[in-house]
């Protein structure tokens, strides 16, 4: 419930209800008792659903997008989730597929009405997207460093995951933008105060900036992907070249020694210096590879 401008937990007198992955009995209560549309309820749990605003006889349904909680098992795929906000005259029902909605901190202060609460949650989702974009950028930088010295595909695949995440984010942020637009077009119907309108205007700007930032990161990642793939190829080529030079350096002395090891008679084989001459020839052949490499800047 709201107390002194803040959200406090009160099971008895609460007017803000949060349902995380509601079970069948909770769903029946929401649909049958609160008259929440079944499709809209399903939308609030579906990560692929777009953000939207719907007016029902006794409540307003808001579906908004927020970043999904990231865990190490996600392997650099940052997904999005939906949240359903059902605003009644006397209560606000929140439905989400996973936990992680925050009602504490500076952002959730000075809340006078349930409408303020709806806007704060939307604002928080935008800020959450911005913070995740910073994380994606940092991860991308770190992956770039790894790719510069790597010959493995896994870092490239991680970059592909990030690229995919940014597409999800762009879609979700754009969808939230459309929701804000609809909220602004229905100010009177929703009963927003001038302060709410001002707050909504600020959010629209912040959401646009967030979208542009995601777009820039997405474009950079997409345009640099080919270059990064080439770097990985090039690293492998360098390794192959080094290995080839080592093979050549070992092969030529072996050839010299092999020729003189043939089980036939050859001139000067009884000479006392023959052994040393063969060794010098072998060493000279190895040196010739090194000299060729140095001369041609291999």
């Amino acid at each position: 419930m709201l107390l002194d401008g803040r959200v406090v937990s009160d099971a008895a007198a609460g007017n803000i209800f949060l349902y995380v992955s509601p079970d069948e009995s909770e769903r029946r209560y929401l649909v049958d008792s609160l008259k929440i549309d079944e499709h809209t309820l399903a939308s609030s749990l579906d990560p692929d659903e777009l953000a939207r605003l719907e007016f029902e006889p006794d409540h307003v349904a808001v579906i908004l997008k927020r970043p999904r909680n990231y865990s190490s098992a996600d392997a650099f795929v940052f997904g999005v989730a939906s949240v359903g906000l059902f605003l009644f005259a006397d209560r606000l029902v929140l439905v989400a597929s996973e936990d992680g909605l925050l009602f504490e901190g500076k952002r959730f202060s000075k809340i006078v009405s349930l409408r303020d609460m709806v806007l704060k949650i939307l604002d928080h989702a935008i800020a959450h997207f911005l913070e995740h974009l910073r994380v994606i950028n940092a991860v991308s930088d770190s992956l770039e460093d790894q790719i510069n010295t790597s010959m493995q595909n896994k870092y490239l695949l991680n970059l592909f995951s990030l690229e995919k995440s940014l597409v999800y984010y762009l879609n979700a942020i754009n969808s939230n933008g459309k929701l804000i637009e609809r909220l602004r077009n229905n100010l009177v119907k929703l009963g927003f105060t001038p302060e709410n309108v001002e707050y909504l205007d600020d959010m629209a700007i912040e959401n646009t900036q967030c979208y542009e930032q995601a777009e820039i990161y997405s474009n950079i990642l997409a345009s640099m992907m080919d270059a990064r793939a080439s770097i990985v190829n090039n690293n492998l080529n360098w390794l192959m070249k080094t290995l080839t030079l080592i093979t050549l350096g070992v092969m030529l002395p072996s050839l010299v020694v092999s020729v003189f090891s043939m089980n036939v008679k050859f001139p000067g084989m009884d000479h006392p210096w023959t052994f040393w001459i063969v060794l010098v020839l072998a060493a000279a052949s190895a040196m010739s590879v090194w000299f060729m490499g140095w001369l041609r800047k291999w």
Binding site: Y70, S72, V135, V139, N158
Partner: protein, 96 residues
């Protein structure tokens, strides 16, 4: 030239563990410092300045992490990290 080294133990208090935003905060704090900072769990030891390794650590709530720092500001950076963990990175109760 020898540098001071220091060690601190912290417990992950965030309900979602050491997830995306805390990992970024840790990596940024370490990169801002002039010290080399490592994190140890029971199973692995990683570079605390690398967000890739932090995200892959999979530290769940209640995991005990041991930070060791070597460098001119080892104590300061570890104090900053302990503060972050104690304050749950300003994300009390929040995931993601």
């Amino acid at each position: 030239m020898s540098h001071a080294s220091a060690m601190r133990k912290v417990t992950v208090l965030n309900s979602a563990g050491l997830h995306a935003r805390p990992s970024l905060a840790v990596a940024q704090a370490v990169r801002r410092s002039q010290s080399k900072v490592e994190v140890r769990t029971e199973r692995q030891r990683i570079d605390a300045g690398d967000i890739l390794q932090l995200l892959s650590l999979g530290a769940t709530p209640g995991t005990e992490l041991t930070f060791t720092a070597t460098g001119p500001d080892a104590e300061q950076v570890l104090d900053e990290l302990v503060k972050m963990f104690t304050e749950q990175f300003g994300l009390c109760g929040e995931a993601g």
